[in-house]
Symmetry: C2
Subunit: 212 residues, 2 copies
């Protein structure tokens, strides 16, 4: 998997969708697929499919046969899920949203392992989320020093996120799944940040419904 | 607001972020801002800021003064939130994720109004989510015929979403906030669909952490 050319962010964002489609094809017993068929199922173009896979070295479909479904699936599994090596992850903010999204971390299918959850609300601390005990946020430093999590899921309001993200970066967190409205990649350009701005998503939908 | 040139999807996706930043500036008493300052706060370039706003007609900053914060805010409020007219919305799937994300609909700040929630699980039906009673999915047709919702929030697994989206389109739903892994814009190209694929988002983050 080493030495493949660097894929752009839009290509990276499309990879999980390829992965999902290929998994479904594989489950259905399909062994090969052309770029044209894959494109039409995914609502894209054959040329984009070919360009996307070209980012990952010598991935070529065979003339008249197409791509090997198993081959592509193996490639994507390695790229996206690290061949089973799971990233140690902590949840910051274990309210309703935090509890709901942490299920994606604990599902064992996305390449992460939830090792702790933190909150400051007395009604949450001591409870569990998907089998993980919710600790008081004051225990964060000590926990990180000992267990070295790499990823933090931020499910807290903007103010809280602004306050805590510097500490998290300092404690060794290098990836954020960020549900807060704090754009932390501006002050911390070296961390990897995947923003899920649900309010923004709704507003974009509203724009398209009202103006398109 | 009529007759502005059509903005591309990437521009539309950036508008909520501008809106958030401008709201914060307005709250802080800032009355004008240059494209350069706005760009640096948002982690983009001045040229992109100017190009983005050019999509919406004669929005120009004044030389040496910049854009009027209030002016831009008013423009974006109209574009994104429809000047207070709220889109009638139903929630399909009132489990943990549905309950968590419906808060964004009921918050009164995003331009939507949650008018009903539907589920098929006996343990959910009859309960409430953010003050809205959860109905059995069998009541969907009758409810839609009477109340004419325009937007559906899909918080159910792929299979359920595949099954129900045709019915929803037929019942007049023209916008989807889609948390399922069913890419419904492929079979229904005329509906407006905003996908929030949380599993995909996590996998993209994993790719960048493992390969960048």
């Amino acid at each position: 998997m080493a030495n493949h050319p660097k894929a752009s962010l839009p290509v990276i964002k499309r990879l999980p969708k390829y992965y999902r489609y290929l998994k479904a094809l594989h489950a259905a017993g399909v062994t090969s697929i052309s770029s044209r068929e894959l494109a039409s199922q995914m609502g894209t173009t054959a040329s984009q499919v070919r360009q996307d896979f070209n980012c990952f070295g010598d991935v070529n479909g065979r003339q008249g046969i197409g791509y090997s479904v198993e081959g592509l699936l193996g490639l994507l599994e390695g790229l996206l899920l690290g061949n089973g090596e799971r990233l140690p992850t902590i949840l910051i903010g274990a309210g309703r949203l935090g509890k709901a999204v942490s299920r994606f971390i604990t599902s064992n299918t996305n390449g992460y392992e939830l090792i702790a959850a933190f909150d400051s609300a007395p009604c949450e601390v001591g409870c569990t989320v998907n089998g993980i005990q919710i600790r008081h946020i004051d225990e964060l430093r000590e926990f990180c020093a000992e267990h070295k999590p790499q990823v933090a899921v931020l499910c807290l309001p903007r103010e809280g996120a602004t306050e805590i993200s510097g500490t998290l970066v300092e404690l060794g967190i290098r990836g954020f799944w960020n549900f807060s409205h704090y754009d932390l990649s501006v002050p911390y350009p070296n961390v990897v940040c995947e923003n899920v701005h649900l309010g923004d998503s709704l507003m974009s939908l509203g724009y398209r419904l009202r103006n398109d």
